[in-house]
Symmetry: C3
Subunit: 177 residues, 3 copies
């Protein structure tokens, strides 16, 4: 498929933004990265892992030692990208999942709801700006199908010290656009 | 339509409680106030804006400088009213939405789930009493269709310093009652 | 029904683990323990009540006076068991609900999504280990139908000082397994 043929596709949008769908994390015993129920898919809360590591840990804020809100915003985008990867893996029925087949699976995804949890230093109330990182990535990759309802919440602490955690609820649309 | 004809309707319930559906907030770039997916509607986290302003900011608690729980309860009701407004706007297919057409759209809404986030001062654990403001408003306006499952959670901080944030999941019922 | 006939059932799994479905809490005015909407059931946030009492209150952490993470994990399992009880009560259409009829109702439940809120002392970031208590219980009781997507979040405070709160979204499967 040429670049022209890819125009308007998720694969093209990922390429244009320099993004690569990460390999979804391995499922653990008692829960899984995503569950499909009828026409909906629910993801587990996604951490902004890149190659299994977090770029920063701690609370987001303006104080010394806090995670900078701009960095947290980037990490929210990474968490959302990881969320797309687990959605794709849950829907891609290819015998062997490839970056291409995963991107194709996302043609059938419409993101409905996002909750962005921001581990917040005392007094930090700019959670929406942080979670915008996730929202913008979803719209960049999925276009209209990435525009969602959203809650942004400031919490006391998150798993492994991650500054942000993002969960997605998505709808499976019948026909690829 | 006379007051008698309105009896039992959402419009009548709003009038009886002295409530007015606010103009829903303008959508922003990357997310929207509410998304419909099949028979469900998910709202974004609603803040207790009145004419674009918050009546109080800070953490809810019993200490000096804390937001009083009774005021927070009133603000939770306001956030829930704003949630009804965005549900109505998402469902009202009138060419021009009016207070009447928005109230009519709510005849087709059943609230299924509410999450109430309460920005909580250390040691404050009476989140349910605060979120009761939202729950009571929903039952007041929608009757049986406003009775929902609910989680009340105390968080570290919320957007713009709001003491409360309320999100709704609603079902679209086929026939108006 | 003999123990052999019960093999593989929810009743058998509960018995094998020494678990008893608790009597669901009485509904309160403005919200209810669970709401069914089409093929889904949403529970209210569940507290780890045993006979109406909490085994511990406070924040989970490693410091003096904190709730021990191992105890919090056990309490997360209790909250999940209470969640199963309210799911069962919402689905059991027997004229008189009994422990047997409630366990049978759970044969039609598939847990789709779990959110575990952990009231967290400053610096405590091992929320996943705490919420594993809930995840493991669900898999123990429901088998494959208990494996879910999940978010674990550390919050500032929870109702009545509970260290953990667990909410469930479940699917009603047409045929008992």
């Amino acid at each position: 498929m040429s670049a022209t043929e890819r125009a308007g596709t998720v694969a093209a949008a990922l390429e244009a933004k320099g993004l690569t769908l990460p390999v979804p994390p391995a499922p653990v015993a008692a829960y899984v990265p995503a569950v499909r129920s009828g026409g909906m898919v629910y993801t587990s809360g996604q951490l902004p892992f890149v190659d299994g590591a977090l770029a920063a840990t701690g609370l987001v804020g303006q104080g010394e030692g806090d995670v900078d809100p701009a960095q947290a915003r980037d990490m929210a985008a990474t968490a959302a990208l990881n969320g797309l990867a687990v959605l794709a893996a849950a829907l891609d029925e290819s015998e062997e999942q490839t970056p291409e087949s995963l991107a194709r699976a996302l043609e059938r995804v419409r993101v409905v709801k996002v909750v962005g949890f921001v581990a917040s230093a005392p007094g930090f109330t700019a959670q929406p700006g942080v979670v915008d990182g996730a929202s913008t990535l979803l719209a960049d990759v999925l276009g209209d199908r990435g525009v969602h309802a959203r809650s942004a919440v400031g919490v006391a602490a998150l798993p492994l010290g991650t500054p942000v955690e993002v969960e997605l609820v998505a709808e499976v649309v019948d026909e690829p656009r």
